[in-house]
Symmetry: C2
Subunit: 346 residues, 2 copies
């Protein structure tokens, strides 16, 4: 199913004539990144410099840090990386961009940089109304090569219907394309117009002017993508195997997968437990670190020692908790992959 998901998004990007630069934070696995490139991705997106270092080590040649990268130490690590790969950075402030520029300019280099635009998520990114002013100041920095704009419509994860998700995606694409047009009209370079997120990818990539998309989650999907209408349960490629360790009451069973295994991320867009027990009507009702408490549905029964398969709320955070994943085909383990870029917090 992993391969199908990877191929399907690549096909979708081809049809929309945008390049695909998947966010590899979802998997953090070089083998999956290679599969994405083999099926048509132009490069990868990551968030942390430490993640880019892991992927550079694994031979990847084109990474965009879709994150406002800040600070002299990180800039020096980016400079070292730029000897080994085409590395691009995100910025949403002149101060942040200057911390990169100072290091690159001192080495008589420039770092390819995209300006982050806030299309309504209100996390990071400049408001569209301020984009031209900030872009101009960043483009003037001697160590920066302004190459475009990017955005991420994280608010899609709170959209309660598939139509609402589509509308968020359309707004995402149109907002960032309009900023790009404004920058170009003012004489600034802005070739790349990049949108993000799995739920909004389909609609945002079709907005005129968008050149690149950066979905991440689609390789695995998860219970939240199902709830958002992005996919069906059978499209989900990541599950967690667990064992029932206790059945203290008829309506309660406990499995050995808690927040250390699944994270405590809530189901999106509406809270609703901590994971589905596949093949049953039951779900994880509460988690502690080592325990997942199953609210046993009326017609389900669990016994101590039973193996169960869990569909997690949020695949990306699960990747970060595990050192290894197992690639399964037709019920057999085909490969064991190291989650090589797990735990890179800097």
């Amino acid at each position: 199913m992993l391969e199908k998901n990877v191929a399907r998004m690549a096909e979708r990007a081809r049809a929309a004539r945008v390049s695909l630069r998947p966010h590899a934070k979802t998997h953090k696995v070089p083998e999956i990144g290679r599969m994405q490139l083999a099926l048509g991705a132009s490069g990868l997106s990551l968030a942390k410099v430490g993640e880019a270092e892991v992927f550079a080590e694994a031979g990847f040649e084109d990474v965009f840090l879709a994150y406002p990268t800040v600070g002299g130490t990180r800039a020096r690590r980016l400079l070292a990386l730029s000897d080994r790969m085409r590395i691009s950075a995100g910025a949403d402030s002149v101060e942040g961009a200057r911390s990169l520029s100072d290091v690159f300019a001192a080495a008589r280099r420039k770092i390819r940089t995209l300006l982050k635009i806030d299309c309504g998520y209100h996390r990071v990114g400049v408001e569209p109304a301020r984009a031209l002013e900030v872009a101009r100041a960043i483009a003037d920095l001697p160590g920066i090569e302004l190459a475009g704009v990017f955005t991420h419509a994280g608010q899609a994860y709170a959209a309660e219907t598939a139509d609402a998700v589509t509308a968020v995606g359309r707004h995402e694409g149109e907002t960032v394309a309009a900023v790009a047009a404004e920058l170009r009209a003012a004489g600034l370079p802005c070739a790349e117009v990049s949108i993000g997120s799995t739920p909004t990818a389909a609609s945002a990539m079709r907005a005129p002017g968008v050149t690149e998309c950066r979905p991440g989650n689609y390789v695995y999907h998860d219970a939240s993508q199902v709830a958002l209408g992005t996919c069906t349960p059978k499209d989900c490629a990541m599950t967690i195997a667990a064992t029932v360790v206790s059945v203290p009451a008829p309506d309660r069973a406990v499995v050995d997968a808690g927040s250390k295994t699944l994270s405590s991320d809530p189901l999106r867009p509406r809270a609703g437990g901590h994971g589905l027990i596949l093949g049953t009507a039951s779900r994880l009702d509460r988690l502690s670190e080592e325990h997942g408490v199953v609210a046993v549905a009326p017609n389900d029964q669990f016994r101590v020692g039973q193996r169960v398969t869990i569909l997690p709320n949020h695949a990306c955070v699960v990747s970060n908790l595990h050192d290894r994943v197992y690639a399964v085909r037709g019920g057999s383990v085909e490969a064991e992959w190291r989650v090589a870029a797990r735990g890179r917090v800097d």
Copy 2:
């Protein structure tokens, strides 16, 4: 502060004449475990067989898995461990205990086992009313040496006042001591009467009949322990260093520590953000994986590039996210410790 916290709990256990077997899941660091033993702990508690394997490798000789350990594969790993250390297991069902007994009996061995009692948390554990029946069946298994009872009053984390926490602790100690008395009266061996949890430790360990306590969190403490009244902010020994990467609006700053760094565990006993920014009145209002969004308090100001120090909601889950911790004394890094037992999910 770490050393003070370790010493203070050891002193408290000595004064109550109970042995101290700290739950090392909080730190997962052998160096801290050694500090606990050096200051008077009799052994360690852990949850996963994989964690016990790491601590055995580091030379620890006495570990109790305070968890209903289930399954033949795990039992074989426990059998191998029992050549290297005194290993004890938890059980809360005859089926679970039998899966251990089968393996140990085949090797003509017995595993020291404590029966888990539910003192009101309603996670795992047998109801006190059923304890004698289950204890009798477990004690009859040929590979089991029934050695006592244990419990954990996790409901203390929902108690809204310090008095309520104390009452939960008293109930915890009294409940498990009463079960122990019942088992002994029926002729069953029940030397160990073990209670858990940092907030309830002080009151539960003073209940007559309690022989052992297993607090974990107290080495670090965290914002939830402060909210529960277990400690003050200056007792907290774990902080996260982060950098402000974006200040998109006067009331919003974003740091490079999100759920990948802090986990998405809520503040206990009442939800209230995702971590305190020390030295300010501001706190983390929402997290995504790589972003912590600060709700900037009226008199605070943040600038891009600024370093901040975060007090997390829940220290134990933070340990599990990081490969290393830095031991700091008087503002200087004194040691770098590997979180050697991080990520052991089995």
